[in-house]
Symmetry: C2
Subunit: 441 residues, 2 copies
């Protein structure tokens, strides 16, 4: 048996991911040590309550409530407690004491990433965060290193398992949003309070992290446009299905060029969107995640896997731990995550995409021309138009109506919003039933 020098590992938090990290580290410590060339000694696990029940059976004497002392004894600190404070202070304290830090805390990175990366760079330490976006999926390292010689054009990510599970149920089983959410809750895919998932907050945090990395620019999480899935109806999903699309909640980060000035910017947004069934993202079912990357030289890439789960996410954390440990053995400063560009985040009104608009119109002569006129008045170009008789006239409806499904060419959000407002006020229009963005083509 080879004897290595030991690196001291401190773990902050023993929730679903943390407890699995501890378990795997204790179980496979020797194998990991051989890969690093140094022992990985778990010196302690800081928790709020030492006596709390945990999913995994871990040695009682590893637990402590004194995180601050634990940090000071460690070469590498793994922060999996979540939340903003005291996680932020603990990470700063760890970095300032010269320890490398591994974290999966997306909320913290989305809010205070720049501060934390700068702190790491100042002391030559490194902050690893593969688990913060995409769970088990290696996406941070590919974006940071593998694509470092390329220019990312766009990222389309299914980065929230709960909402993908719900939308997939609606698509595959024809379920309603409420029904699918209830199933997700029963199966443990949704939390008791699902707000962070279904309203897109979780996805927006990941979008901010991915956009920062892809475009080497600061992307504050508040600048990410966000719409959740609560407005998605069974009818929209069914209409999408018939038209060859599937509805997905996408986190989209893209490089945009101002058509007038030619200057570059970033658009970052989270919202439900129609994705062609021929697109690789359409095959991402259940609670799986995938990140589709379009790069100038590499072309289209996709990274697919489990976006959550204690054991799965622990894999990403341990990968970072091995990287941090190898770095300690090799010596030298960590790779800085400093921002080398400063592309502005473009406001949502200026973002361009395609749209599918469904409207109920009065079925009378000249209506089509009026509708077409509204689109052309706002410089929104129609790509396809399909008219069908409305399923049934609404009770009390004055006129027989027809359903129009219009797909536009690329147009700005503000032009589209003006078009929809104008449609809603047009006498020929009974209702604007649905507006969905079309992505990935």
């Amino acid at each position: 048996m080879i004897e290595y020098r030991n690196l001291k590992i401190a773990l902050l938090g023993a929730g679903s991911v943390g407890s699995r990290v501890a378990e795997l580290l204790l179980e496979h410590g020797d194998e990991l040590a051989s890969r690093v060339g140094a022992g990985l000694e778990l010196v302690g696990i800081a928790v709020r309550d030492v006596d709390a029940e945990r999913a995994v059976n871990l040695p009682r004497d590893l637990f402590t409530t004194d995180a601050e002392s634990l940090i000071l004894s460690a070469d590498i600190v793994i922060e999996l407690m979540g939340g903003i404070e005291p996680a932020r202070s603990y990470i700063l304290k760890s970095l300032n004491s010269g320890a490398d830090v591994v974290t999966g805390n997306k909320a913290l990175l989305a809010l205070h990433g720049t501060e934390l990366f700068e702190a790491a760079e100042q002391v030559g330490a490194q902050l690893f965060y593969e688990a913060a976006a995409g769970g088990a999926i290696p996406i941070i390292r590919p974006l940071r290193d593998s694509l470092a010689g390329d220019r990312v054009k766009r990222i389309l990510g299914i980065v929230n398992g709960t909402t993908n599970f719900i939308l997939d149920r609606m698509d595959v089983d024809g379920d309603t949003l409420e029904g699918a959410l209830a199933t997700a809750t029963a199966l443990g895919y949704a939390e008791a309070d699902p707000t962070a998932d279904i309203e897109g907050y979780d996805a927006a945090q990941k979008a901010a992290i991915l956009a920062r990395l892809a475009f080497h620019s600061a992307v504050p999480v508040e600048a990410v446009y966000r719409e959740g899935i609560t407005g998605v109806t069974a009818e929209q999903v069914e209409r999408a299905r018939r038209a060859g699309y599937v509805v997905k909640l996408l986190a989209i980060c893209e490089r945009v060029v101002d058509p007038v000035t030619g200057s570059e910017g970033i658009a970052a947004r989270v919202h439900p969107a129609l994705v062609s069934r021929l697109h690789p993202l359409a095959a991402v079912h259940g609670a799986k995640n995938a990140v589709f990357v379009e790069a100038e030289a590499a072309g289209d890439l996709m990274f697919y896997g489990a976006g959550a789960g204690g054991l799965e996410t622990a894999s990403a954390v341990l990968g970072d731990l091995v990287s941090a440990a190898r770095r300690h053995v090799a010596g030298g400063p960590g790779v800085a995550e400093s921002l080398t560009a400063s592309l502005p985040v473009v406001e949502i009104g200026k973002v361009q995409t395609r749209y599918q608009i469904t409207i109920e119109v009065v079925d009378a002569t000249g209506v089509l021309a009026k509708i077409a006129g509204v689109f052309s008045d706002h410089d929104v170009s129609v790509e396809t138009l399909e008219q069908s008789p409305a399923a049934a006239a609404a009770p009390g409806a004055e006129h027989i109506t027809a359903t129009l499904v219009i797909v536009t060419h690329r147009a700005s959000e503000e032009a589209l919003a003006a078009t929809v407002a104008s449609l809603a006020g047009n006498a020929a229009v009974a209702t604007v039933t649905s507006v969905m963005r079309v992505e990935g083509a």
Copy 2:
């Protein structure tokens, strides 16, 4: 404009990938420099013939035929000349002079990887090779770093674009192998001599590289079992389609456990296989590549993208170049790729998988029992059996025949081979039409 110190980059080879690397480096040099914190100066391109025509227009004065002098002037050497010699000698010379090396030379790595990685480690340099497997797809870095804390169970890779294009045409268009190959050649997806692709040599080299990395063990390319696609018929593809499968050429690297001793080994093999249409690999169309990884903690992951192409592969090379350059700026030795395990490669006969066997049998009483007896005699357990009347009796056939399609449970290759030999010699059997492995379930 920031002034950086310059890192000197030497390029060996200006073929389809090399010329694109030079072009992108000259075009985006400033942007890459900002990401590295040092200038990336292309100091020369070594080629055999300075005056040869090239796809990309590059400054004439960069070219030289004196590779040896060029190497000695460089901080980082990019080897894209291909072949074994002089590429091997040049890489050794580069490493020994203290330069980091970026290569996409899969044949060389599959044959001399251990020697080259050891040479790098001895001098504290690093050998980067993201472009050697999966083209533009980041797969080396995720396996080496992101999954470093996990245990890989199995890799199923579509790692050859030519054969995937051909098999996809056969599946989607009902084309014959010859017809699909002709199309691949006409479209530039197949080389004039397609042997390396369609006989699986290219895929076997990639399997050796991926298996080494995933299992931290030496996997000589000669130890990779290899079958190409030349035996795949339109009938097999059609039968697969009807049964819910698609035929793919897979590179499979898996951890296997000896059922008697419990000791671990590696199986590495390349052959056509049936993949369920529900498996993510089934959706990999055309010349695209994908690597599906099953890991103990991370679960199932897939990495998808362009497996070849000059521009696409150049992205992977430049990502490695940025990593190498960042390493030079940070200082310290490179990450060693030393083997930390020594799992033996298991011979093909001991490998277990599932099989689909198609046989024409004499349609007479008791035949099914006889056939079932042959399987049980060899301890091969039948999972499903489907009998249908043969389409037409062969001219001169003595008996009316029926077609049996049998799918087995997991069985060893040697048990299966013995079963097939026994079937072929059985009076009840007219022909064993097809034997296909079933993977990914």
